[in-house]
């Protein structure tokens, strides 16, 4: 199942901003059971969020992030059938939304016009549908319970791997209907080949072609880098506390960052190019890792607001500080290449050097440009990217015929 990542970005009517914030606060107060959006009923949905960009300015933007299965049209049909009335009330607070009564067709049309597709994105578990992820978790939890039962009666030393698997499979076929029907592969071989081909073509054709423009651009870039202003303000303790208060309630966390793209326009083109390249590389990510970072479910970068700003949205596992440290240790080059085109970023050389490697400044920069996740929903609140992967392997292994060593490897997944 192909996944889609996008945002709907709308301009907030200043007169309605308080009402809008009130609605979002109500949703946040009862995320799973509020009257506006019954998120758990949207079966295609993985993660969703509402954030406000440029809240201090006269023109603020409402960003509605959606990471879901399938194509946008079917997704919107499902979303609007579950939450049409609620979304209608939300978008009544935005400009160019006309219609005082709810009309699903009208709202769908409105949202389709407000789509921003990411310039670059990453998906941790490519092609695994939200419903399948949740089913796999249940299957694994029941099998784990069965395993605990077996070991409460039989000592682990007295049972072989093959015997143990036989008992687990017997339990699955009796207690977990449907668990032995094979599920379709989450990513086709053809799709992988296409993604790799694009990347290789880019490297062998695109890069040589770009060599001459790059040689011209480099001195320009270096001159700009030397005069770029670095944001040296330490983050406000009160603001950071507010962020931390919303973090670490479930396994994953959400990060929304809005930055201003540097001038002159040269920076915008450079940014678009870097994001294009990052996106090609991200399509070939293996084992769910983005540049070696194993903890991102969905992340994306979009150029928004008439090419003036960059929006970064990420749904990641574990603490904010471990996420940022992972960035610095494993992906400093790529993300410096991206953010060095944003105002205030720690100083860089040749686009990708230094920058994020300045740990303290980089963390301060991230907090200073973070915007509050006013509403944030996760469909599987206690699973990491790695958990999802393990669960899938357990589930996929039920229907397979295994050798002894494969059986042993499968049992290690529990």
């Amino acid at each position: 199942m192909r996944q889609t990542i996008l945002t709907f970005i709308t301009v907030i009517d200043p007169a309605q901003k308080t009402t809008l914030k009130g609605i979002l606060e109500t949703i946040r107060g009862n995320l799973l059971g509020n009257a506006y959006i019954a998120f758990p009923s949207v079966t295609r949905l993985h993660f969703a969020s509402f954030v406000i960009a440029n809240d201090q300015d006269t023109e603020s933007l409402l960003v509605f992030e959606n990471n879901f299965d399938g194509e946008v049209s079917e997704y919107l049909d499902e979303l609007l059938s579950v939450a049409g009335q609620g979304l209608h009330q939300i978008y009544e607070c935005c400009t160019d939304y006309r219609g005082s009564t709810f009309n699903a067709h009208h709202l769908k049309h409105f949202l389709l016009e407000k789509i921003t597709r990411p310039n670059a994105f990453h998906i941790g578990n490519v092609g695994r549908a939200a419903k399948v992820i949740k089913d796999n978790q249940q299957t694994r939890e029941k099998l784990q319970g069965c395993l605990d039962d077996i070991f409460s009666k039989t000592s682990p030393g007295s049972i072989s791997a093959v015997q143990l698997r036989t008992q687990l499979l017997a339990f699955a076929s009796a207690q977990l209907p449907g668990s032995s029907t094979p599920i379709p592969p989450h990513e086709t071989f053809a799709a992988k080949v296409v993604n790799w081909t694009k990347l290789i073509l880019f490297v062998i054709i695109g890069l040589p072609v770009l060599l001459i423009p790059a040689l011209i651009a480099l001195p320009v870039l270096r001159r700009l880098e030397k005069t770029d202003e670095v944001d040296k303000t330490p983050p406000s303790t009160a603001e950071v506390e507010q962020f931390i208060a919303t973090e670490n309630h479930i396994t994953q966390n959400h990060l929304a960052v809005v930055t201003d793209i540097k001038l002159p326009k040269f920076r915008l083109y450079l940014l678009k190019f870097v994001l294009f390249a990052v996106n090609l590389v991200a399509r070939t990510a293996t084992n769910g890792k983005l540049s070696g970072i194993p903890s991102i479910h969905f992340a994306h970068w979009s150029i928004i607001n008439d090419d003036k700003q960059m929006l970064f949205l990420s749904n990641y596992d574990g603490s904010w500080i471990s996420y940022l440290d992972d960035f610095i240790d494993k992906a400093a080059t790529g993300l410096t290449g991206i953010w060095s085109n944003s105002k205030g970023f720690p100083s860089t050389r040749f686009l990708v050097l230094d920058g994020a490697r300045d740990e303290v400044r980089f963390k301060a920069y991230s907090r200073n440009h973070q915007v509050p996740s006013l509403v944030w929903y996760s469909a599987y609140r206690d699973l990491t990217v790695q958990n999802v992967d393990k669960d899938s392997k357990i589930r996929e292994g039920i229907a397979k015929t295994f050798s002894e060593s494969e059986t042993e490897a499968w049992l290690k997944l529990f």
Partner: protein, 455 residues
């Protein structure tokens, strides 16, 4: 390599004094009158042990909470140059959440460090024996009383058990990193055959750290290098419920194997810790303690090549969560590099009498005065707590925390990887309870003199 200014660094940053001075006492003080307090401080500064003093009989060191600095006249512009965690203190909502200080561990229940019994200053006393300790303690307490500027909130005696084992019965303090430029590496190599040397900036402010940067240096009006040669000191009083631990182990060993004897109990406990009672690591000695009556400080091991699956040392074992070495990711080199940025140096000591019978609740309090030093509380101590110890999904585990010191919920579990599959133990109770704690700053000697000046 950084050349450290040893005479400006307090001795405790460089040494635990454990071998020469096994007896200790921690005095937690509250400032009652700023002027008188500063005068008293000025009088004890000459007694503070520095990194160049080679003391054998007695050492004295000192550290301060943010509350002390504020009462001394530091402005908010001064305070903002310190670590955010230090500025806030340990008991804010944010810190509780990061540390998991909820339920039984909530600061309301603490005996010190909370709103009811706040502390400002920490004095650390170390002596060659109890007589010397008592003599020095009496003199200091008399000076405190006389000063009229500061009072004792809590006096915490501590000691090093003659066999270096903590109350659960395990050899403690083995896998410590060493500081570059101090000669510690060579000494540890001789002792254990292995040493992890880290950049001085991980533990002493003003020097380069493992990221080739210098952590933010606290600066105050008139003293832009106030933080130089200082460090942050984390103090947590951790009560250990020894009888609860060993009774749980005993009962659980029997549920795994009805015939379980003492050896099976020791093995289960070792699986939770990651080392045998002697200190020998399970990753190297998976089947039995190689030194059942002695000690084994072996530290020259990793998990990646030899035990990535956790069949020897469980993935969630205490020593593997608190120091995952090369096993954090599937790339051992990257893992080692990452782990180096999150190390702490532990300088704690046990308190309370050793129990006579580990299965009996003798109603006496005992535990560990956990103390550690680090340059960046958030990246080092708090990171370890939040991202490793209390992380329910650490290393793709599912709904587990550290089996020894982790935060509990109604069905806390621990997986012991093995053949043909993992066994899993359930309903782990709290084996420890936090009784007090605070974040301190341990200044360099020049900064101490700056501190007593009028502001």
């Amino acid at each position: 390599m950084a050349s450290l200014n040893f005479s400006d660094i307090q001795g405790f940053v460089l040494s635990s004094y454990a071998t020469k001075m096994p007896c200790a006492n921690y005095l937690l003080l509250k400032v009652t009158d700023v002027k008188a307090c500063k005068a008293w401080l000025g009088s004890i500064i000459p007694q503070i042990t520095t990194g160049t003093d080679r003391k054998n009989d007695f050492s004295l060191n000192i550290a301060f909470c943010a509350t002390a600095f504020r009462s001394f006249g530091f402005t908010e512009a001064d305070m903002i140059s310190f670590s955010a965690a230090f500025q806030e203190g340990m008991i804010t909502e944010t810190r509780r959440q990061i540390m998991g200080d909820t339920g039984n561990n909530k600061p309301d229940n603490w005996t010190w460090g909370n709103d009811k019994r706040g502390v400002d200053i920490l004095l650390l006393l170390f002596a060659i024996d109890e007589t010397e300790l008592k003599k020095k303690l009496t003199a200091l307490e008399a000076g405190i009383l006389e000063s009229g500027g500061v009072e004792v909130v809590q006096s915490l005696p501590a000691g090093r058990q003659p066999d270096s084992k903590e109350h659960f019965g395990f050899l403690d303090g083995i896998g410590q990193p060493t500081i570059e430029g101090t000669g510690q590496k060579e000494r540890q190599l001789t002792r254990t055959g292995h040493a992890t040397e880290l950049k001085a900036g991980e533990f002493v402010l003003g020097y380069e750290n493992e990221m080739q940067k210098i952590d933010p240096l606290p600066a105050i009006a008139g003293a832009p290098e106030f933080g130089k040669n200082g460090t942050y000191l984390v103090f947590r009083q951790i009560e250990q419920h020894v009888h609860r631990f060993w009774n749980y182990v005993k009962e659980t060993a029997i549920t795994i194997n009805a015939q379980a004897g003492v050896a099976d109990q020791d093995k289960l406990a070792a699986k939770m810790v990651g080392r045998w009672k002697s200190g020998a690591p399970l990753a190297e000695y998976p089947d039995a303690d190689p030194a059942p009556t002695g000690t084994n400080e072996e530290n020259n091991f990793g998990f990646a090549a030899n035990d990535q699956s956790g069949a020897k040392c469980p993935i969630g074992a205490h020593i593997r969560r608190t120091n995952p070495r090369d096993s954090l990711f599937d790339d051992p080199k990257m893992s080692t590099l990452t782990v180096r940025r999150h190390r702490i140096i532990r300088r704690g000591r046990s308190y309370g009498h050793r129990t006579e019978d580990v299965y009996t609740d003798d109603r006496e309090e005992r535990g560990l005065h956990f103390i550690c030093i680090n340059s960046n509380i958030e990246r080092q101590f708090e990171f370890t707590q939040q991202t490793w110890v209390n992380n329910l999904n650490f290393a793709a585990l599912d709904h587990e925390t550290d089996p020894l010191v982790g935060q509990r919920d109604p069905n806390s579990m621990f997986s012991i990887q093995g053949c043909p599959a993992r066994t899993r133990i359930h309903n782990l109770p709290d084996f420890v309870t936090i009784k007090g704690g605070a974040y301190f700053f341990m200044p360099g000697m020049a900064a101490l003199l700056e501190l007593v000046k009028e502001r």
